[in-house]
């Protein structure tokens, strides 16, 4: 972590923006659009609990986006945005059996999303 960014990719390779676009609007796996609106399919199913992501690639660097998806809590301890790459401390959290001990998304998934969001220049 460097400042408010993670400069190194989480995996060896670079992300695939096309896979990232699909994952971004997957309401069951990434859940992003439950909270965020943006230039994604089905705008009537986008939430407004979070800032819109149009133009996010112009506002933030890849490293900054990476940290925000990996663990927004590092920047804002009270945020409602889930930490996608942090395994939640399980005590008292009642995590459902199928999800225990796992991050929400894999490092490769997050690299795909970062690569895609970086293309949203405005």
């Amino acid at each position: 972590m460097t400042g408010d960014a993670i400069l190194q990719p989480l995996t060896g390779g670079t992300g695939d923006p096309e896979r990232g676009a699909v994952l971004m609007s997957d309401r069951h796996r990434s859940l992003c659009t439950l909270c965020h609106a943006g230039p994604f399919p089905d705008p009537h199913l986008h939430g407004n609990l979070a800032p819109g992501l149009a133009g996010v690639g112009a506002r933030l660097s890849e490293g900054q986006i990476r940290l925000r998806v990996v663990d927004m809590r590092r920047l804002m301890p009270d945020t409602i945005m889930p930490s996608y790459y942090r395994v939640v401390d399980e005590e008292d959290r009642r995590i459902a059996a199928g999800w225990r001990g796992k991050p929400i998304l894999s490092g490769a998934d997050i690299e795909d999303i970062v690569a895609y969001l970086a293309t949203l220049k405005g």
Partner: protein, 259 residues
């Protein structure tokens, strides 16, 4: 003013280590009914179109039907539900002397079956249990939620509040995150209501059937990828006790309709 409460909530959250629990200001308290489309509101408002009324009607029959080894009907002890059950749902969960814990309406139905009718308990979410509970709760329709004042309920209600404010599940969200701090905003395609329990059991279009408050709580828990409470779990009743306190004054709507 809500912004101010938000700030106070964040300060409280930092102190208590819970998510911002700004709460709902008195003038802002709204039933889930208020967040629905006109069409869904109309479905609830007209008894001839409200599908939940089918369960109420079935409940009326079951009320009069002798059951169990004692071969006695609910009506055998309680007579006319319109009189004897009026206001009962508005003050449940109530303190149950037998178990020393709060008991909800469905629990009460099953406890009467066991002790008075000497009958087997009805299964959670069975049509019979939902029908009887809907019928009893319907006798309070329009009455304000008025939680029982019994001081023995206080520790259970406090536990309910604690559960409401605790982050759970892989998504690490609390009930308060959505229902205190973000009600009225959209999560995906739907509006987040304030989580008031005043319409249950209710007909949910998504379920295509009537369901209990506990079923709804389980849905929200599964949504944040948490292990849901089992039907009848004491934690569910504690949560319900807190939700009823939070909704004090709202009218009982049973059977409500929700999307």
């Amino acid at each position: 003013m809500r912004a101010l409460w938000g700030l106070a909530g964040i300060a409280a959250a930092l102190i208590c280590g819970v998510v911002a629990a700004a709460g709902i200001e008195e003038g802002d308290k709204r039933s889930g009914f208020d967040f629905m489309t006109r069409e869904t509101q109309a479905l609830q408002a007209d008894d001839t179109s409200n599908p939940g009324m089918l369960w109420v009607l079935q409940g009326e029959q079951l009320w009069r039907q002798p059951e169990g080894r004692a071969n006695v009907a609910c009506a055998g002890c309680h007579g006319d539900a319109a009189q004897s059950m009026r206001g009962v749902a508005a003050r449940h969960p109530a303190f149950d002397e037998a178990t020393g814990r709060p008991i909800d309406l469905a629990g009460r139905v099953n406890s009467c079956r066991a002790s008075r009718q000497q009958a087997e308990p009805l299964a959670p979410e069975s049509d019979e249990l939902l029908a009887l509970t809907s019928y009893v709760a319907h006798q309070s329709r329009g009455m304000p939620v008025t939680p029982a004042a019994d001081p023995r309920l206080a520790p259970f209600r406090d536990n309910g509040r604690r559960l409401f404010q605790s982050r759970i599940g892989q998504l690490d969200l609390s009930c308060a995150t959505c229902h205190d701090a973000n009600w009225g905003k959209r999560l995906g395609g739907g509006v987040i209501p304030q989580a008031h329990p005043n319409g249950y059991p209710l007909y949910r279009l998504e379920w295509q059937t009537v369901g209990s408050l506990q079923r709804r709580l389980r849905n929200c828990m599964i949504g944040v990828r948490a292990e849901p409470f089992a039907f009848g779990a004491p934690e569910s009743i504690d949560l319900e006790l807190y939700l009823m306190e939070r909704s004090r004054g709202l009218p009982v709507e049973t059977p409500a309709v929700r999307p």
